[in-house]
Symmetry: C2
DNA sequence: ATATGTGAAAAGTTTCACAGCC
DNA sequence: GGCTGTGAAACTTTTCACATAT
């Protein structure tokens, strides 16, 4: 119940910090943060589990369990401190620090991602971009010079990068992921609509398949239609 | 066990077709389809639950349960017909038909989405695009003339549209969604990083928040780091 | 008075293990 | 032999309901 920095609860592992957050809670964590940042901007200083939940379509008990699992406490009769929650979740997610990001594939989607304001707002900084198309190499896209993909490994030796955004054609995605993996990149946000295989274990991948999301939407509509 | 078109199982509802597929199964449905389409292109005619599952990181029993819940049967000792499965899942998802789609917001992201090949490949056809910026109105983006957002309602009376892609700034998203809802659009793929509220019930929304995905990735990396 | 934190129950999901079919 | 279909067990997640804190 201490008010200071959030601690991972009593803890039972030998190593430091192992909060062991469930998958279900993890999937909601970023949603809480987005809502809390919105509340903070709107000037709220506290929030109750029931209103935070209502905003996200989550049961109030669920919200309290999730926050409890993260070691975040509220005050009975009052609610949770918005700023405390926001800061703590950012620490847990790792978005309190700055992340170096590179972009592979500067097609239409890649260019849009290079200019996406939301990334920088959350601490993600685009440090370099790569493509194989000769006519793009050397040009500036969103203020960043496009490098030849051949320079990938040598560039990664020079700059501090943890994450890569992959926006290349499906056929090239696996090879690009392999090279990023070997070069020591720790996380990949993959926009290529394929299931990339991971050789070793020290690499995380999050997939975003835009056509898949539109298919999910179509299915929702179809389900509603034959209610 | 019939070989013909897949049927929603015995069925207990009064109305036609109500397969009642679980949320968990639903979330995997599009992944099965993507993998099956890949297998089809590679020339496979049958697939076993264990290999389909391995490709997607899913237990083989899970795969059989999912397909069973959809009314899709395999052949013991052989496996599932790739083409039958592909076609049946497309029918279930509703992506066997053509969908009319409009785009609201022709910024960098909107332009990239307008030109995204994967949409048309799955039956989604962009019929019109809208923006409020005077300098964009009347220009062609990916072969489609950008219309004034004021023309939204009048245009929707003329063309057959079920889905809308919303790629406008956060501050404008709610108002755009309200207008789309009133105009009778059935589904919205929302790229604005806000939780839009739905007034009535006959509208589905799927959210894609790109910064959120990058935060999820950062969290995965952080979790691995303190293993 | 109001909202948290949490045991306990309920609901949902995954995995095991094996009978039955090809 | 090999693979599906599925009861039953194991596990996870959600919800209820209320004691406890401010």
């Amino acid at each position: 119940m201490s008010k200071s920095s959030p601690r991972p609860k009593p803890s039972q592992s030998s190593k430091e910090s192992a909060p062991k957050v469930s998958k279900a809670t993890t999937s909601r964590l970023v949603l809480y943060l987005r809502e809390l940042q919105q509340l903070e901007r709107s000037g709220y200083s506290t929030v109750r589990s029931i209103s935070l939940g209502k905003q996200l379509g989550i049961n109030d008990s669920q919200v309290r369990r999730d926050l409890g699992a993260l070691g975040l406490a509220g005050r009975p009769g009052v609610g949770y401190s918005v700023s405390e929650l926001t800061q703590s979740i950012r620490v847990i997610l790792g978005t309190d620090r700055k992340w170096g990001v590179i972009l592979i594939g500067v097609g239409h989607l890649g260019q849009a991602l290079a200019g996406y304001r939301g990334f920088a707002e959350q601490g993600f900084h685009l440090l370099a971009s790569f493509d194989t198309a000769k006519e793009k190499i050397g040009t500036k896209v969103m203020g960043i010079t496009v490098l030849s993909l051949e320079k990938l490994e040598s560039t990664l030796l020079k700059i501090q990068v943890q994450l890569a955004i992959v926006a290349v054609p499906s056929a090239e995605a696996q090879e690009v992921v392999n090279r990023l993996s070997r070069a020591g990149v720790e996380g990949i946000l993959n926009f290529a609509p394929v299931n990339v295989k991971l050789q070793q274990g020290n690499l995380s991948v999050v997939n975003v398949d835009l056509a898949l999301e539109l298919q999910r939407l179509a299915f929702e509509v179809v389900k509603k239609d034959d209610e």
